[in-house]
């Protein structure tokens, strides 16, 4: 599912809202989430999951083309931990599909 398809699915549900507003809402939610992470703030969505930053210490890397050593600064990377409801629903659907495949 692409962002455009997510917007489409939401416009079908949120019939009382203008399509334009739904599109903007999706953009605003994602911007707000990105802004939070850029400021080092965690995101916690119950039943979906949490986003936080993980620190990757400085290291010496190599230019893959020349083999030359380059020192890389430490940096933060976004990390997502799925919440229990998301984990359980995704896995339950998967196990059900495996059972169906076995029965067929």
């Amino acid at each position: 599912m692409m962002k455009s398809e997510l917007i489409e699915a939401l416009t079908e549900q949120q019939t009382h809202l203008a399509d334009k507003d739904v599109e903007l809402a999706v953009r605003l939610i994602l911007e707000r989430m990105s802004d939070a992470l850029a400021e080092g703030e965690r995101i916690e969505v119950r039943g979906f999951g949490s986003f936080s930053l993980h620190y990757r210490p400085a290291r010496v890397g190599r230019n893959p083309k020349t083999g030359e050593a380059v020192s890389l600064d430490g940096k933060h990377v976004p990390h997502f931990k799925p919440g229990k409801e998301l984990r359980d629903r995704v896995n339950a659907a998967y196990l059900a599909s495996l059972e169906r495949a076995e029965a067929a």
């Binding site: 939401l10 009382h16 507003d21 605003l28 939610i29 850029a38 949490s50 930053l53 933060h76």
Partner: protein
């Protein structure tokens, strides 16, 4: 302090003029639609933010950490997140230590 659905709804209320009920519904549906797509076994790609991918794990041996008893960890499908380039570069330069 963490960003929550309530903060996102407040943001939509302030920026879009949606009433609080509408804003809360949109935020709730946003996450629900992503869950539904992942449940269907579909990858979710949100350009500029990142992709939610699915990975299948085979059954592997495990142990009850309390009793030491051996119990297999059954085959399962898990969700992983791959941040997009834009999000990665925004976060990379964060200099603080709060995680």
């Amino acid at each position: 302090m963490a960003l929550t659905k309530a903060d996102m709804a407040e943001h939509l209320h302030a920026r879009l003029g949606l009433n609080k009920r509408e804003a809360k519904d949109v935020v709730e549906s946003f996450f629900e639609e992503i869950r539904v797509a992942l449940e269907r076994g579909e990858q979710v790609k949100l350009s500029g933010f990142g992709n939610f991918d699915l990975r299948e794990k085979k059954e592997r041996p495990g142990r009850n950490p309390k009793t030491g008893e051996e119990i297999p960890i059954t085959a399962r499908r898990v969700v992983t997140f791959r941040p997009g380039q834009k999000l990665k570069s925004r976060v990379e330069s964060y200099a603080g230590h709060e995680h």
